[in-house]
Symmetry: C2
Subunit: 244 residues, 2 copies
């Protein structure tokens, strides 16, 4: 049976992949993905056939994977982090539509919100939301609306894609929206290159975050009103009253 | 050096644990956790010492783990899913406070939002939030405020702890809040016992979800206005315009 695995390979360190993801990669005849992600797993599976595409071209890559699976190959389409969170899973399912071939299996993984949180401490101890600051596929007005809702709901907010080469002001604009509702000294943090060489992170306030120069390799965490700085870690308590 | 690992063991299937989590469990002298979670990993590490506590008593469990690590043991404190998402990580860091011992390492894992999403399709393809419906530690007014914000921001919303033995009406009350802003036919889904025996799931509308009888073993997904039903799967596109 033709089969397509859409595999979340975690943040980058092969040690942060699940056994299920490793098994899917092992079973696959061919890996398909953005070159940077293929590089992360190449050493684990030397000699595996690969179909590489550059950063853009997601739809073409997903269609190639579907076609190769329909043609009888077992294909692993790679996403960094989780396959479903801003990953390839939804695009694959959209392109496959109602067709019954190939069989598609989504293999989840550790998304940057989780791996980054573990580096900073425990910022996601209570309700949180994830918002992408990329306006490639989403109007900026929608992004602003979501930032406003996140701040009004006093969520911890995780920002994916805080900057790109062409848009360097998204993070400061996002902080300006949040600052309308949140205190300037709210505990925030960012992590760069999670689980990869040159991993870096910093804990800072929301007003400091506004002027931080970050790139697309970073994931950003904005605390809620409950988030605290404890022993240089970012911690959001599990509830408003701790009961034992 | 005294060491405490706070380990996210994923949804339940050992195959959905990361290599890093397995290594931490292997290194530990003693496992500490809620009995149900210990049962999930016991077979992998027969003969490992365990300190079990029932469901409540989280603070006592975390303090035991800290004390045991300070006394020189290497301790693995287990959380299901991710260690930081409604898990033990934030409570451990709060209890440890500013003390420099023991060394605490948070090991992330696949939380139910990710593993459940993979079962249903790709509901988390765009911005989403996670809200716990448990009012044990959070006033219901705060929960309602977050539900309102999630609906107003047109997020996909993942509901943890949709019901408990004593509170069976939380889900219907939550749906009533969401229905003030969202259409009754929004695509929703739930998954029970993710990655464990008797895994079950259903895709349904928001108005149907309102009257669904679920329990604490379920994770619930409420779509955004963009979420679609494709080939009986719940799919939220990555953006409003698909570019290739």
């Amino acid at each position: 049976m033709a089969k397509l695995y859409v595999v979340g390979i975690g943040p980058g360190d092969p040690n942060q992949m699940t056994g299920e993801a490793l098994a899917a990669l092992d079973e696959a005849d061919v890996f398909c993905g953005y070159s940077t992600y293929l590089d992360l797993v190449r050493d684990l599976f030397p000699g595996k056939a690969t179909y590489e595409t550059p950063m853009r071209g997601e739809a073409g890559r997903c269609q190639w994977a579907l076609d190769a699976a329909i043609a009888g190959r077992t294909v692993a389409l790679l996403s960094s982090g989780d396959a479903g969170v801003y990953g390839m899973a939804s695009l694959v399912l959209e392109l496959a539509g109602e067709s019954i071939e190939p069989e598609i299996e989504i293999v989840p993984g550790v998304t940057a919100a989780l791996s980054g949180a573990a580096v900073l401490g425990a910022p996601l101890g209570h309700d949180f939301c994830c918002i992408s600051l990329s306006d490639l596929l989403t109007p900026w007005e929608t992004i602003e609306r979501r930032l406003t809702a996140a701040a009004q709901g006093d969520f911890v907010t995780v920002l994916y894609n805080p900057a790109s080469r062409t848009r360097t002001d998204h993070l400061s604009r996002a902080c300006d929206v949040l600052l309308q509702y949140q205190e300037p000294d709210v505990v925030c943090g960012w992590v760069r290159n999670i689980g990869r060489p040159h991993q870096d992170s910093r804990i800072l306030t929301l007003i400091e975050l506004r002027d931080e120069e970050l790139d697309m390799l970073c994931t950003v965490f904005v605390g809620s009103s409950e988030t605290q700085l404890i022993a240089e870690r970012m911690v959001t308590p599990r509830g408003y009253e701790q009961r034992s």
